[in-house]
Symmetry: C2
Subunit: 389 residues, 2 copies
């Protein structure tokens, strides 16, 4: 059965804090505050349809063609047949897990990992085998030996999120080459969630698993419009693979649910007309936010805060007994000048029991001014938290 | 693994027929040609959002509240907490099957049944046990003895579609009472797909499973905006139940995929402002279409065509050897004055191997004029089909 996530358990406490009149800075969610690009909103304002009909089960062809142009700009060479549009990356991941694995098969994922992967694994009846990446290495890819140790005859896939949610870690080409080797050696699937592809900082660029040579048939890419264009609500993601057999099986699941959302696809197709300057602005905004958070956190006593190169998350380690308790206490008992923060306990991002008790995830989805206030709250909170270590 | 449906296998033959210049009347699909109500399109034209954000995982509250008003008009008494909005009824059904059944559990469904139920069963790893309803009875509910025979310790649910896809059969209150008794006796879930609720003819009205007394905790309702408002592409359905435990578990699956489509929900909420006259017009249009099809089919030699009281499907029996072959032959080899029809072989709607070989499903989603031409095609085709019996 599916466990409730530690973040969701906190929601009633956040409600209570608000009822008491406390301002709660929400650093717990991946919902950006950035406006959705105008071409997407315009596409709805100019909607010219008599019937909002089912689309092709794989997605509207003209949208998939535009996606190919987008991927070509990122040096990823795909055709519309290599793409199935899903209701968010969520559905794409579920289709892939159901298509590539049988119940009881195993999938290796470096932890901490995006908590919702647990849901897809539960839905498909497969087992996640975590291997731990450490804050000391900045959450780099665990050594190849750890992968080899975790592989069993039931292992069918390795999954990564790059740039990573919840750590913000951006895998280097060298790390991806390590994965390439092990995937090839054991003939595993390599699942890669690349929904934060554009969000890379400090001059670093993203290297896609789609460009790893010799494992074209092993790679399955998950993508989404949600974060890229700050349009989480349109629920448009994609499953992308050169593996014809995988695509054929995934199409059966796609057909069983008839069609991805048509309105969202129309908006997503229009998103492709967003000028590149949109990303320039956003990246510099997120960079300023990341720097605000990392600088503030690093100055706090007993805090370890790596500087991530991607996404919009950081996962610092705090001098606390238990991140679940700390995050609840922040909402239930603490305020600083009438303000507090809601953080995501990292325990929900680990599959290993007991792991992540010192860590939290901070989503920098607020503006710099509010982030500064939120950082001040954390600083003051750590001074008085009864479970401080 | 999921089987490809007999309809989908026909798609390439339909493409070929069109390439030859043959007009193909599509009676194979459930995509209505009726315009989507203006309030839904207007809602998109007037979209006033800066960020298209995630909605609540159970769906936008104001939309669920409006749904309660809609249900109240149909004498169904529910609160927003009894509703989880899904990406179409498809997702709602999947959530229910995953929440109420474990892998290897069984679900009894009268056949013929909507082919996509097979997909949800495969996804959840549960087994469909069919019991056969016959064309001689007009596809009425099979006798209670058939249900009792099919029940095993693994049986967890009975599922119906009312009015029925593919037969158009409308279950009477008496038949639903039979189901009530057996559900109560064996403490099973009763799943009911009522997406065609409004489409009832000849003065008959729909009776919802939500009004069966004493089994409130057993009933799970599936609903959808797709057919009701001719808006299949918005992918907005719902799971509705008074069973708190089911809703709690289903919410975990809902949370794992974050949110149903926001744009579709905004359109669906606006749909509630559609005047009742919209349905009056549509029902009389569909009634004329049904009568066109049933009258024409009934006049053909060797054809048995019950007069269904609901939905927009009929499932006649034809004097043919094999409906898969016949439907393919219609597209591959036949034309009448440059026209032919695409029908759905009923084999895909039966789980019993070999069943449905004489039957086809006709969706009357074309206007009367085109339906008449399509009926003429079938009449002429049956005269020359080599596999005629």
């Amino acid at each position: 059965m599916m466990p409730a996530s530690p973040i969701r358990k906190l929601v009633p406490y956040a409600e209570q804090a608000k009822k008491r009149g406390t301002t709660v800075y929400h650093l717990n969610i991946g919902q950006p505050d950035i406006p959705t690009p105008k071409p997407m909103i315009d596409a709805m304002h100019n909607l010219d349809l008599e019937v909002i009909a089912y689309s092709h089960s794989a997605g509207i062809l003209s949208y998939r063609e535009k996606m190919c142009e987008y991927y070509a700009k990122h040096n990823i060479d795909v055709t519309p047949d290599d793409i199935i549009v899903g209701a968010g990356a969520s559905e794409a991941i579920l289709f892939a897990v159901q298509s590539c694995l049988n119940p009881d098969d195993e999938i290796i994922i470096p932890e901490p990992f995006y908590a919702n992967y647990n849901g897809f694994a539960t839905s498909a009846g497969v087992k996640i085998k975590p291997i731990t990446s450490t804050i000391e290495s900045g959450f780099a890819l665990p050594p190849i030996e750890d992968f080899e140790e975790a592989i069993t005859p039931k292992t069918k896939a390795i999954m990564i999120c790059n740039p990573n949610n919840p750590t913000g870690y951006l895998y280097s080409k060298e790390e991806l080459e390590v994965l390439r080797k092990i995937v090839k050696k054991y003939d595993l699937f390599l699942f890669a969630d690349e929904v934060y592809r554009e969000f890379c900082y400090d001059g670093h660029t993203h290297y896609s698993v789609m460009n790893l040579e010799g494992i074209e048939n092993n790679v399955v890419l998950f993508d989404s419009v949600s974060k890229r264009y700050s349009a989480c609500g349109i629920r448009i993601g994609a499953l992308v693979s050169k593996n014809k057999e995988v695509m054929q099986t995934a199409m059966k699941f796609a057909q069983a649910r008839l069609s991805p959302p048509s309105l969202g696809q129309i908006a997503a197709e229009a998103a492709m007309d967003t000028p590149d300057s949109y990303f320039d602005e956003i990246i510099s905004e997120y960079l300023a936010r990341r720097n605000t958070v990392v600088e503030a956190m690093s100055k706090m006593d007993g805090v370890i805060c790596p500087t991530p190169k991607g996404a919009f998350y950081v996962a610092p380690s705090l001098p606390i007994d238990d991140s679940d308790k700390f995050c609840q206490w922040l909402l239930e008992e603490f305020d600083y000048e009438g303000q507090t923060v809601m953080l995501a306990p990292a325990t929900g991002f680990y599959a290993t029991p007991g792991a992540g008790k010192q860590e939290v995830r901070i989503s920098y989805v607020l503006n710099v001014e509010n982030l500064k206030k939120a950082m001040k709250c954390i600083e003051e909170a750590l001074k008085v938290y009864p479970g401080r270590k």
